[in-house]
Symmetry: C2
Subunit: 328 residues, 2 copies
């Protein structure tokens, strides 16, 4: 199977490292970061591209753009792993559409396009006889979308809730464990690389909200946007609030919740008993699904990370290969 990769940041490099380490029978014939690209039908030298990128340079030739890779490389699946733009989804959205039009399967870790236009993309994929997979957009390494779409096929989901943002969970874990203020815990998260310089996207619940929109629109038959999500972040939480919860054998977690029948999408800090399976530590994610036949199911795992996200992307690639790619 031949793939083209758009995006050579943490996720793209994670995928490249896995492909170098494991013989999965996947050749990379196109690769682009925002400033350069490579097209090589014989298979790109990923080790050399990684070395260039990690040396601070571009991954390839400045004369080759992502659009060139989409249009001119020879590939079965486009792997779109550029950073998320939650306003427009671009430039990823355009590249994904173009690949689907060219009858190429698409695997993406990019929340923007899936949150903004899943129905359109899915229709385009179907019209062109190809698949669009996006396991990596929600909860990193946890195969939540596989589990819900296939394992729970036939179930009706009455509620879905959980910890969708590892940065917030790290901050809350540290505030509770050490009595830190929000600012102190955030500073620590930044030092460890768990929080961005501008943490708004995580701490205001935007990231969790987008994941809810993706689950709502792709699995729960809703049609929602980020504006439909009631959002409260964690920036105003005090150590005293966490201590108060602690006194009752509880703690506070930023919980994203969907109640499909009520049309509720909500992200807010909640007080939860410490024995609840959703009370995970550090940067973990955890999701509980309430299903009519299966009952309550909880999934816990790493929600982010280069290799963990690569795991989800590679699961999607092998899924496509098993079903749709001939002779590979």
């Amino acid at each position: 199977m031949r793939i083209a990769i758009l995006g050579f940041g943490s996720v793209g490099r994670g995928i490249a490292r896995v492909l170098l380490a494991k013989d999965l029978g996947i050749a990379v014939t196109g690769l682009a970061d925002s400033k350069s690209g490579i097209i090589d039908a014989g298979g790109i030298d990923l080790a050399a591209a990684l070395a260039r990128k990690e040396g601070g340079g571009p991954c390839g030739n400045p004369g080759v753009s992502p659009a060139d890779v989409v249009a001119k490389a020879k590939y079965d699946v486009l792997v779109e792993v550029t950073p998320t733009n939650v306003e427009t989804g671009e430039p990823a959205l355009g590249h994904i559409r173009e690949a689907l039009r060219r009858h190429k399967h698409v695997v993406t870790s990019n929340k923007g396009p899936i949150a903004l236009d899943y129905p359109g993309l899915r229709a385009l994929a179907e019209a062109n006889g190809v698949l669009l997979k996006y396991e990596a957009t929600v909860c990193g390494a946890i195969p939540l979308i596989h589990a819900m779409q296939e394992g729970l096929a036939g179930n009706t989901i009455s509620r879905l809730y959980g910890v969708f943002n590892g940065t917030c969970n790290y901050i809350l874990t540290r505030m509770a464990a050490e009595g830190l203020t929000y600012e102190q815990a955030l500073a620590e998260a930044r030092e460890l690389g768990y929080a961005e310089a501008d943490p708004t996207y995580d701490v205001e619940g935007i990231d969790a909200g987008i994941k809810l929109v993706i689950l709502a629109n792709t699995i729960l038959d809703l049609s929602t946007t980020l504006d439909d999500v009631e959002r409260t972040g964690i920036t105003l939480l005090s150590p005293e609030a966490l201590q108060l919860a602690e006194d009752q054998d509880c703690t506070i977690r930023l919980i994203g919740e969907i109640i499909p029948d009520a049309g509720v999408l909500r992200v807010s800090p909640r007080i939860i008993p410490k024995t609840h399976p959703l009370v995970v530590e550090g940067t973990l994610n955890a999701v509980t699904v309430e299903a009519d036949l299966a009952g309550d199911l909880t999934f816990i795992g790493k929600g982010a990370g280069s290799t963990e996200t690569a795991s989800a992307v590679i699961g999607d690639l092998l899924y496509i290969r098993e079903r749709y790619v001939k002779g590979s």
Copy 2:
């Protein structure tokens, strides 16, 4: 899609009730319990069959055997949900083989045939161009096999461990919570229908051991039998041992564990910190998978129950329909 169901106990009736309650487009054209059967290409009246069975009678005609249903009914998928025989796998094993030879897909909740001869059954399925699915054999409603085979494709599993038996977990939960003896907690479990009159299969770790054999042989590329599982049950555990664990903020759970590289399959009571995600209450199951790319993933849910097991069977049926059954 047309299915034939062998077995009309708790699981079979659970499936029938779901098919009556939900319009899944699945018709039942064959049905048999151990003493009777029905074949009707136009679709069996499931409500009437349920009423007969629940009134204490046979589900159908005493002149129709399970073998007749396998051989003569018109169906796409055989749903084999008779009780487990861990020694020979029969009569289920013979029925499954015959259905596969007749180019019928098979979905089963029956641990015996899968634990005893997965390689043979899989080869037979492949030779006949059909699928064999068995999600319901391990951890009931938890889509563990889907998650591992598809979501974690590309990962290498270095260890897998968890709570695989709800009966034992209920007994241990009650012993810890109320200071009951093993005998007292077992009596309570029996009254609630969580333990059989002869509880050996559960409390000696045989059930958990068979589930380990299934996971080892079907997902982890091992070739094992129940004799390869080191087994210690829970019958000798004292309330004092649980209290001792409690004093250290720990508790005791019957843990099944596979370490593929070391060839280890083991079921034994273990002391675990109470904050560990595997410390689930009551009859729940919980499994942690250590994967090289995805990291640690934990799955928690109901491991048994009529509707919960039906959920897994129906997930498998819809999986087969989406991929392999034309015009349905």
